[in-house]
Symmetry: C2
Subunit: 251 residues, 2 copies
């Protein structure tokens, strides 16, 4: 890059920082269409919108999303062509989440190349969620999380089902943190993680150990012990990272 060592004369006073690379990195602005496909598609892939369930009517949904109906329809058309939703017409009809969901597509080269960044982002989001949930979670929210943890223990043999419940647990934790931004960040990063790991074999022993971590994590959150919750979360996430580091380049 930078040809000759052209020293810029006067730089910032406090050291030789060069964060300009980050400041001048490409601005990538998604269109409303792309963003909508991402949002709905991720929610569906994560099981946040259950198979068979009905989406709000187009005229209502576009109002909620703050976009024009034609734009929403473009997104729905895309999701319908990829087999994630289907629509029926007439009164009582609507747009429904497809019941056998289409098979997941393998992650792109880009995704695989940036897997460590994704894990870093997840680390931040999950630590924040664990700490805030320890302070703010309501008893009924914790009960719901315990139920999900119980469901997880029944799903050691079926990774698709396991992953789905796992996502609900982590998203539920972010919900219990009562922070809308953290919740959105959590769904985004879980979507990226699902893309990364859904094609990887997970032996039942690994899942069982993961479950024990879930239990201890929820206990710490219930006690309001944020420090322990963060420590447990850290260990929990390192499991995934080690698996990925063993399988992907750039470890």
């Amino acid at each position: 890059m930078a040809g000759s060592g052209r020293s810029e004369a006067r730089t910032a006073s406090a050291g030789s920082f060069a964060p300009s690379d980050a400041v001048f990195a490409p601005v990538r602005s998604q269109t409303a269409f792309e963003e909508t496909v991402d949002r709905l598609g991720t929610a569906i892939k994560l099981g946040l919108l259950a198979p068979g369930s009905r989406l709000p009517a187009e005229r209502e949904l576009c109002a909620r999303l703050g976009i024009a109906r034609s734009t929403l329809r473009q997104a729905l058309t895309a999701l319908s062509q990829s087999g994630h939703v289907f629509a029926t017409r007439g009164r009582g009809g609507g747009t429904f989440v497809a019941d056998p969901q289409p098979p997941a597509v393998p992650p792109s080269q880009q995704m695989l190349a940036r897997w460590r960044e994704t894990c870093d982002q997840r680390l931040a989001v999950e630590l924040g969620a664990a700490l805030l949930a320890s302070d703010r979670a309501l008893p009924e929210e914790l009960d719901a999380l315990d139920e999900i943890a119980a469901a997880l223990e029944q799903a050691l043999e079926d990774f698709a089902a396991y992953r789905q419940a796992d996502v609900l647990l982590h998203v539920g934790l972010a919900e219990a943190a009562h922070s809308a931004r953290l919740l959105r960040a959590m769904t985004e990063v879980q979507g990226a993680m699902t893309d990364l790991i859904s094609h990887i074999a997970h032996p039942p022993e690994v899942l069982a150990s993961s479950n024990s971590q879930h239990r201890r994590l929820l206990a710490a959150v219930r006690e309001g012990d944020g420090t322990r919750a963060m420590a447990l979360m850290r260990d929990h996430l390192q499991g995934t990272e080690h698996i990925l580091a063993g399988l992907l380049p750039g470890g």
Copy 2:
């Protein structure tokens, strides 16, 4: 909210979650123009681009940002009209960061209403940065951070200067975490925090105590003790939160 208890018949299997509010929240995609003004404006307000320093030439900058030159010029025109940059023509000219920077504008109602969300986001980013930096920071990066901490201790009386060095410290920590996304998230959230707190009086005693936290935090990072770094960071951030909670509504 939700008017009558309209039970949706069949929902997800594992509990009564309703994350649909988050899934169907408005998609608001910034334009390339807005995003560019934000990026450059924030970098300037945070002091990441030092007053008097020169931006890359328009033809180069628009290539780096991945936008058309006309779009970039719109952004530069906006920043020039707000007094953040100025341009000189001819060979050897260019676009420069204005030297006395224009006075900061008071935060908008929206900003003030969402201050807690901003703090939550900051918590996640800073915890992640602290932990990752403890694992990954290079000695020379830590030395640079120590220098900034030293500069901070000379600035107890001038909050503008203090805040600027403080930002450099936190952004530097994110840099030492070696995660591009975390770095960008850090600059974003520091920009939001600066908007929130720059109009608040900070007594020197508070800043002094903050400095002692900085020192202990950097020591923990240098030792690679991520757990302690996170605990110290947590305490450090709570200081700001308490101040804001005392002054702003919605505490």
